[in-house]
């Protein structure tokens, strides 16, 4: 299977007015579709910075990062996030003014999918993540954390991409919901053929991954291939 993401000796330096902080150094790795990758490490080790680079929210200060064979500096990174890569976070980050259903329909609206079709597909995605339809009309603040994270995953599915990036997706969840989300992420990779990259320091999440990387002081190493 082809590599959807390939990092070549990338580095990243945070530069403030007064100081430079090296967050990543010489990171080289690759990610394929159909697998779950876990990137573990302590807080401040650089895993979230790496995920931001993979999401195209920033670009490496050193090295090259290829997305589907194209260097990330040369592609439209907004279009990349709209069509190819979705990101879910520990804090869920759903649109607070949109209902559950509208949140899932949102990416399809950006892709100009007709409203009726978007609604039908949103129903399907929400059903896939196991959310009861009684919640579709609710606002995000009216449902539980586990439910919100499932909506976030459904929204990621709705964008129709190939990459799912998750930053501590179970960080705010209890063990029962944590298990559900881990299962869903596995399904995304194995059934929906996504490259799922999860940044976590949760051992259970890492255990469920197909490949585990460890991040230490900005350097990435393979823990389990």
């Amino acid at each position: 299977m082809g590599k959807i993401i390939e990092a070549e000796n990338i580095g990243y330096v945070y530069q403030s007015k007064y100081q430079k902080t090296k967050a990543l150094t010489g990171v080289s790795c690759s990610f394929e579709r159909g697998k779950v990758y876990a990137i573990t490490g302590k807080s401040g080790s650089g895993k979230s910075t790496f995920l931001s680079l993979l999401a195209g929210l920033d670009v490496p200060t050193e090295g090259n990062l290829y997305i589907d064979g194209k260097e990330i500096r040369e592609i439209d990174r907004d279009a990349y996030r709209m069509n190819l890569a979705s990101v879910i976070y520990q804090a869920f980050h759903l649109f607070p003014l949109l209902t559950v259903l509208e949140n899932v329909m949102f990416p399809m609206g950006l892709q100009h999918v007709p409203k009726k079709e978007a609604k039908e597909r949103a129903h399907d995605f929400l059903a896939k993540v196991g959310l009861p339809d009684t919640l579709y009309g609710k606002m995000p603040n009216m449902i539980s954390g586990g439910e919100q994270q499932r909506v976030a995953i459904a929204r990621a599915m709705a964008s129709g991409g190939q990459i799912l990036l998750a930053d501590e997706p179970t960080g705010n969840l209890d063990s029962q919901n944590e298990a559900v989300i881990v299962e869903l992420l596995g399904k995304m990779a194995h059934e929906e053929n996504y490259a799922v990259i999860v940044v976590t320091h949760n051992e259970k999440v890492a255990e469920a991954a197909d490949v585990v990387y460890g991040m230490l002081d900005g350097r990435l190493e393979v823990v389990r291939a």
């Binding site: 929210l57 920033d58 990349y80 996030r81 804090a91 980050h93 649109f95 003014l97 949102f106």
Partner: protein, 406 residues
Amino acid sequence: MFDYVKCSLRRRKAANLVTVGISVMLVLLLNLYFGSIDSYQTQLRELSENVPIFCQVTNLNGTMGNELFISEQIVEALEQSGQVKDLSYMTVMMAGEGDFKEAEYSKYLNLYVAGANNVEALAEMTDDMFSLDAQSLNELLASDRMECIVNENVLKKRGWEIGDRITLKCYYYDPASEFGKIEIHPMGGTVEVTIAGTMEDAGGKTSAIQNDIIIPGRAAWNLFAQFGLKFFAGTVTFHVKDPMDLNGFKEEMQEIGLKEIIPEADTSYTGYALVVRDADFIASATHLRHSIELLQSFLPVVCILVLLIGYVVSYLAGNSRRAEFALMRLQGVKKVPAAFLFLTEQILLVLAGNVVGDVLVAPVVSSLPGILAVNGVLLTAYLIGAAAAYGRMSRGSVVYLLSMQQ
């Protein structure tokens, strides 16, 4: 994308109401401010109508305003002056009915005749005291027709009727008379006048001398000319046409030959001084000008205040949407469209506030340019604030904005 704006307008009720409410309040306040200036300016413009400046030709020491000798040249110059309006003049003569010998003047010379160019010239007489309607009366007095209005008692006593032509032998007061020794002389012949109407006998009703016969001012003027005499008016009053140009008016009056009152001058019958009753007008105009200047001096402060409020409200509203902006960016929406979306929402709310404010002030403020100016100032203020907020937001890192929400 615009569905998001619709949802936001529908669901952020409290925040949106605050924005709309502040816009309404600012529209009201600005209209109150500009409306006050406009009202004062209107009052100033209409001051000449509401507080007209009355002028009267007097003798040099200002002790007499009636029964004077005011030269033909002065009356003519005032008639032609662009600085004068509502000119009223009246001349007085004596007459006897029919042609009689001069030696018998004491027997026949018993009619007081006045030539007046309008009703205002006839001291203390009003339209309702005449048998003619106001329009016909004024048309007659403004004309040079040899027609007259006769005191109803005189009419009855002499057996005259409306439509009769009567013959009068007229005498004029000699302008060369010494003070206290008025002389009268025959004009030189008789004239025929048609009775066009009557007037009430005002005996006791007014303090003015009751005239027996009134002829049009211009007819009286022609009468003097007919007998080779220089016309003179006994009374001349008028209003200043443009009170805002009082200096120009006074200069022209000097050129005409009218002087300022000299209280210590000798009393005479010659009318060539001018009393200008402008104290009330000047006081009112000065007060209004001061009020306008005071209000206008606050204009920069008001503008800055409005800009500041608009900016701050917009900025705060913009800042409260940072997480949503970051989420949009995370979903792949570009910076400009994302910022534009929130800006559109903000503009719609401000416009709604402006419209509500305009509707509220419309019954009071009739000036469309004023309303547009207020809306323009407010929209500019809000746009600057919103542009600053969203500009700052779009420069920020998405990860940072998301982490702040987290």
